[in-house]
Amino acid sequence: MSQSLVRFIIGGAMVSVFAIIGDVLKPKSFAGLFGAAPSVALATLAMTILSDGSSYAAIEGRSMMAGAIAFFTYASLVSRIMMRYKFRAIWVTLCLIPVWLAVAGGVYYFVWVR
């Protein structure tokens, strides 16, 4: 329980710091880089190294590549759809979360499981 609480606080703080950096930067496309900052990864990997060791963190890092490829697909699709259609950001970003799950799971399965 206490480890989860520490993860929550460190993760929340790390994400907030990168989000604030993104907020104050211009132009928008440059600020957007910080939307893909490794904030959750830094918080999680730091905790993982302390609790389970660096070999365990290396396996997480390997899978994270699949997650990052999925992030690229997800963010590119959000950008295209927001530019072309009159949908609100909240609906586009939430409705495309299954795309992230499918691509991340698909890459992980075909590259490392099969």
Partner: protein, 140 residues
């Protein structure tokens, strides 16, 4: 070449609950990634280190700010809000290329060198690769 600027006035536009939402989602996904790794192993858990946890909240916030800015000038702001969110998402897609490099460096070097140096170096590389991709994209 396009100049990168720091505009602190945007911090005043952001309300405390916007910060709270991002802190909450960031904390939740970090906790969740740890729980998933414990239950299903580091292979599945690692996927969630690149989950777009705060993306919906950030995109909605950008759309809202741009819309309000235009409407305060008496103009319709909906289209501008959508375009701003789209441009921000395009930036994030470039940042995610840096994120792949971050993950690659961590997976290859974290168990060989000092973990903190590897994490720091991977973060610097994430920024370097992301900025390089952004500059190349702008130059095209």
């Amino acid at each position: 070449m396009m100049r990168i600027q720091v505009d602190l006035s945007t911090l005043a536009q952001t309300q405390w609950h916007d910060y709270a939402v991002r802190f909450l989602f960031g904390g939740l996904i970090t906790t969740l990634a740890g729980i998933i790794a414990k239950q299903l192993g580091p292979g599945i858990g690692g996927l969630f280190l690149a989950f777009p946890a705060i993306f919906p909240a950030s995109a909605t916030l950008i759309e809202k700010h741009e819309k309000e800015k235009k409407e305060s000038l008496g103009l319709k702001g909906e289209a501008r809000g959508r375009i701003a969110a789209s441009i921000d998402a395009a930036g994030s897609s470039m940042g995610s290329i840096g994120l792949v490099v971050f993950a690659l460096v961590v997976s290859q070097f974290i168990s060989r060198g000092r973990a903190w140096i590897v994490l720091g170096g991977a973060t610097v590389l994430w920024l370097g690769v992301s900025v390089a991709v952004w500059q190349i994209r702008k130059a095209l």
